[in-house]
Subunit: 107 residues, 2 copies
DNA sequence: AATCAGTACTTGACAATGCCAGGTAGTTGG
DNA sequence: CCAACTACCTGGCATTGTCAAGTACTGATT
């Protein structure tokens, strides 16, 4: 799958996921994998970035299945960012799909 | 508009445009601008890259309105690439939009 | 108890691609 | 002759995803 398509969209997928419920990194890797292949090495730096931007607050919870899990919770800023990016994505993908339809003439 | 969304999609938009008819760089800037803001400094290197990859053949045509125009014509390889990327985009954007719908529960 | 698989997080070096800013040149009209 | 528009090109930069490797904890297997 085209790597480049993911740029920017991953941020949206992560924000949408955490909006539903608090999640930890490893869990997010699996959630986002439903949509597109994703690497741990992509998710963790992204989470750190969004945390630095005050979109997330974090807390640790011990686990019986391994090391403690770092959970991410959406802040007000995160919610607002989620809304913005979502509407940008919706608008963008709509325009692209319209452009594609306009190219249907011969194929 | 989110810069990152464009990554990879621009290639598709350019391939689709040239598939309709041969076009020159400056013209493509305006065509693609219908969908999203785009810079000359983005288009020209992209055209060079696709030409190196044998997706385009080029030819010069003199113009009364300025310097000669370099037209791009899709090769068989370009047509095949167009098809591939188009189906990847369609598949990807569909999955993302389904994921978004699945997050509609509270917002 | 030692090893292995699975869970969980981290990081540094790298690749891809878009943007900015600036340059070169031809044409037309004031 | 100079400004404005058309047209193309380029080098350096920023952003963000990938790869690869490492750390560490738990529970099951040998």
């Amino acid at each position: 799958m085209n790597t480049q398509f993911k740029k920017g969209v991953l941020e949206l997928l992560v924000l949408l996921s955490v909006a539903k419920k608090d999640m930890y990194g490893y869990e997010l890797v699996q959630e986002v994998s439903k949509v597109t292949d994703i690497n741990e090495g992509t998710i963790y730096p992204l989470l750190r970035r969004l945390t630095n931007e005050k979109c997330f607050e974090t807390y640790l919870v011990e686990s019986k299945e391994g090391p403690p899990r770092k959970y991410y919770r959406l802040t007000a800023l995160g919610i607002s960012k989620k809304g913005k990016i979502l509407s940008q994505w919706t608008n963008f993908s709509k325009k692209v799909n319209n452009f594609i339809k306009g190219s249907d003439i011969n194929e």
